[in-house]
């Protein structure tokens, strides 16, 4: 009789285990970004989820301790890369507040236009990807054509499409050209009908409603406990918007509403984002009106008068000596900053994007910490999907608008 050889050593609990462990791994279909969830599932129901992040950790905070201020702007681009101008302008606003630069009204209004365009661009990605994840590819292709128009607007203003590195500390590098205004006006003319058609495709669509309503819901108390901000918190019922509570860049002069949901599920988040796009269009129209109302010298300024921090115009740099010297000084960080610290937040497309800037008087930040909304609300993801099915987990993830760059920084 041959003895039965035990070649396979089974772990102790594996014979009693009735659930299956699967890996919703870092390589997703191209849309979401790199984060991993190890799920314990029983059939299709998810019992437990363990998220792992850090697959795109690029050490922004450590890099920014080495770089002078203008070299940190391209880093901030790569935080929430779908709406890069908001990150850039948030950083410039932080430095301006820290150093005490007062920007002219026109600059603030131009900034508002750019930030709202960026917000529309980010919400478009999120909403159309929610469509793609529930099977509707068409919405994505339609609205991407209008994201291309937004990219063309950025390109006219700063030269780059996606990672814009837009603006300077104190304003913009050049005034908006006629082509840029023509494109902005074309966007305002054509986009509302597109957004209406996009909403008609999804809002009363029975399949979409069944996929998203009641899925991934969170109550307002739990959302606040987890530190949610932005559209995810507003969908849960709390109307906290940094543009209203701590206004920056003259947002207090604009008249807009903050849409709020009730249950905090995926459908509410989708609706809140779409409504925010309508409000952004409203804000852009008001900003253009305000710019046209400015008179005299105010109507031509595109930067503040801050020679220590605002890079001189390129035409001057190439022809005048002082401009060249200032340009070199500022880029290399030879301008000393005051000692102190500041926390400044802007309303990013995902929530409150905060910059905690500690300076020791040297040429670069002593410590720069980004309060990244995605990182903070992703903690709640296991709670959102426990008990739901696998496909619900996917659509919850896309409705939260997780951007991997902001998650890991």
């Amino acid at each position: 009789m041959q003895e039965e050889k035990q070649n396979i050593k089974l772990p102790k609990a594996s014979l009693e285990k009735t659930t299956q462990t699967i890996n919703l791994g870092p390589t997703h279909p191209a849309t979401h970004g790199v984060f991993q969830n190890i799920l314990e599932i029983d059939g299709e129901r998810i019992l437990k989820a363990t998220p792992t992040v850090g697959y795109i950790h690029r050490a922004f905070e450590k890099i920014s301790e080495r770089k002078p201020l203008y070299q940190i702007t391209p880093l901030t681009d790569r935080l929430n890369y779908c709406s890069a101008p908001i990150n850039n302008l948030g950083w410039h606003l932080t430095v301006e507040k820290f150093v005490g630069i007062e920007v002219p009204a026109r600059v603030s209004y131009l900034r508002v236009i750019i930030m709202e365009l960026a917000r529309i661009s980010d919400h478009l990605i999120c909403s159309s990807i929610m469509g793609v994840d529930s099977g509707a590819f068409t919405g994505f292709l339609y609205v991407f054509q209008y994201r291309e128009l937004i990219y063309e607007i950025y390109e006219e203003i700063c030269g780059s499409r996606l990672t814009t590195n837009i603006g300077r500390i104190g304003g913009f590098e050049r005034d908006f050209s006629d082509v840029a205004w023509a494109k902005i006006n074309r966007f305002l003319d054509e986009y509302p009908s597109v957004l209406k058609e996009f909403e008609d495709l999804f809002n009363r669509n029975r399949i979409f409603i069944e996929r998203t309503q009641g899925v991934g819901g969170i109550s307002a108390e739990r959302a606040l406990a987890y530190g949610f901000t932005g559209p995810n918190l507003r969908a849960a019922g709390v109307d906290y918007d940094v543009r209203v509570h701590k206004p920056y860049s003259r947002y207090e002069e604009f008249d807009f509403e903050v849409p709020v949901g009730t249950t905090g599920d995926c459908y509410d988040r989708f609706l809140v984002r779409n409504e925010e796009m309508w409000q952004s269009l409203r804000i852009i129209k008001q900003a253009i009106q305000k710019i046209n109302d400015l008179k005299g010298e105010e109507a031509t300024k595109h930067h503040a008068d801050a020679p220590d921090f605002y890079l001189p115009l390129k035409a001057d740099v190439y022809t005048k000596m002082e401009a060249l010297i200032y340009h070199f000084k500022i880029i290399m960080g030879e301008v000393d900053l005051p000692v102190g610290e500041i926390y400044n937040a802007v309303e990013g497309a995902n929530g409150e994007l905060g910059y905690y800037f500690v300076s020791d008087g040297g040429r670069s930040a002593y410590r720069l910490h980004f309060r990244r909304p995605c990182f903070i609300y992703y903690q709640a993801y296991p709670e959102l999907i426990e008990g739901s099915m696998l496909s619900d987990a996917i659509i919850t993830m896309s409705s939260l608008n997780l951007i991997a760059g902001e998650l890991d920084a």
Binding site: H57, A59, Y81, E190
Partner: protein
């Protein structure tokens, strides 16, 4: 709803791919097998978009209607390495992600090509830090590098066209040759 206010145009300028040279006769044609195989392969590359960060969003724009990538044959994006030919690595690869990337590459079947899209995938990009892999060619062999941060969609398409050139002219015995085996061994991929 008219989004594009140009009038409808019909494309009368059709580009036809030339037949490779060969010897024709009544009911038969003889040509080099590698040319036929190259022609067939290059016009139907199925990419795997390994999109990690910002370059992934530019890739989404490339797949959109303005810069359509699918007119070059890459209509079907597979997200599984078992079914695709071209691994497009778009975005920063951190050291935590490198083993995952290598595993995806190993799972692909021959013939396989790799294009590193963007500065981060080519060389680490602007992130010279302790946690970023300074170029994916530290872990997998790369065929085409597309520079840019992020590269414009036209640049990504140019990279795909260079891949198509490589695919067309590749010898059908390359994947069994010793040099190729040595290349893979140098990366630790058997």
């Amino acid at each position: 709803m008219i989004y594009n206010k140009r009038p409808v145009t019909h494309n009368t300028n059709l580009k036809v791919v030339d037949m490779p040279e060969g010897y024709q006769g009544e009911g038969f044609m003889a040509m080099q097998l590698s040319k036929v195989v190259g022609l067939a392969r290059k016009n139907s590359i199925w990419p795997l978009p390994f999109a990690t960060s910002c370059c992934g969003i530019e890739f989404m724009a490339t797949m959109g209607s303005t810069y359509d990538l699918s007119r070059f044959g890459s209509e079907r994006l597979a997200f599984t390495p078992r079914q695709c030919d071209l691994l497009m690595v778009m975005g920063t690869i951190a050291k935590k992600m490198a083993p995952v990337l290598k595993q995806v590459y190993v799972q692909m079947a021959e013939p396989r090509w790799v294009v590193a899209v963007g500065a981060c995938a080519s060389s680490g990009g602007i992130f010279d830090s302790y946690s970023v892999l300074q170029g994916i060619d530290q872990v997998i062999p790369v065929d085409v590098y597309v520079p840019g941060c992020p590269p414009r969609p036209e640049a990504i398409i140019d990279g795909i066209l260079r891949i198509q050139d490589l695919v067309e002219t590749e010898s059908i015995r390359r994947r069994d040759s010793e040099e190729y085996q040595e290349l893979l061994n140098s990366y630790g991929i058997s």
